[in-house]
């Protein structure tokens, strides 16, 4: 139950960061918080349900892998945006708005 409360609180904090931050690095960090909360929830649910350790760890590893790929692609897009326009704030990026 403690792990559930912790992961829900961290998920909510991450969601607040995604909604309120203007800086792309801040948004990416907030997304990482949400993924971390999901990882805690997954591990705690696996432990509480009595699932095998191998099953829980393999699924959590997949989440870890997805998060690493997301961070790499997100940061490369940030660098590409910075090289192209010199801006990294989401409210200043309007090239695709038509």
């Amino acid at each position: 139950m403690i792990a559930l409360g912790l992961s829900c609180a961290v998920f909510a904090l991450g969601l607040y960061g995604v909604l309120s931050r203007r800086d792309l690095i801040g948004v990416l960090v907030s997304v990482e918080l949400m993924l971390g909360a999901g990882g805690i929830l997954l591990a705690a649910a696996g432990a509480a349900s009595g699932a095998t350790s191998g099953a829980v760890q393999s699924i959590a590893l997949m989440v870890l892998l997805l998060a690493a790929a997301e961070a790499a692609v997100g940061l490369s897009l940030l660098l590409a945006l910075h090289r192209r326009s010199g801006r990294t704030r989401v409210d200043e990026l309007s090239e695709v708005s038509g």
């Binding site: 909510a12 309120s20 959590a60 998060a67 692609v73 090289r83």
Partner: protein, 164 residues
Amino acid sequence: MSAQTAGLGVAIALVALGAVGAVLLREVMRVLISLGVFLFGVAAVYAYLGYPFLAVAQVFVYVGGVLVLMVFAVMTARRDRSERPAFVSRHDVGSAAIAAGTGAMLFLGLRPLFQDAGFARSSAVSDLAQELLGPRLLAFEAGGVLLLAALIAVAAALRGGEDR
């Protein structure tokens, strides 16, 4: 207080402090340090729940990889303006209300699944190997293909071009 309870308290404190700092601090290097504290805390929670391999992978992949990548990105794309403080606009208050409502809804919805506190039945790494090379082999290989695709996407996004 037992050592296990103290360890859990430290892990929860690391997670909570790191998460709050990562969201509410505005100076970007402090945000990244807070993210590092949060990630170490998550690894400690994994270890407490009985998943030591996951804890080590978390430290290697996130603290050793993703966090260093973020620091490098910040050093390359240096910000010229600091963010405004938190909770100064109606948009921030609305965001906080949406986030709190979502968190509460998740907690209330998932609470029936967590009636019994539990720990992993076994922490042997051989269980993980059997799982990854057995029933989840396809997902394991698909994960490798996904990482390769991400690598190609990064190279394509950063290919050519001069710094502005």
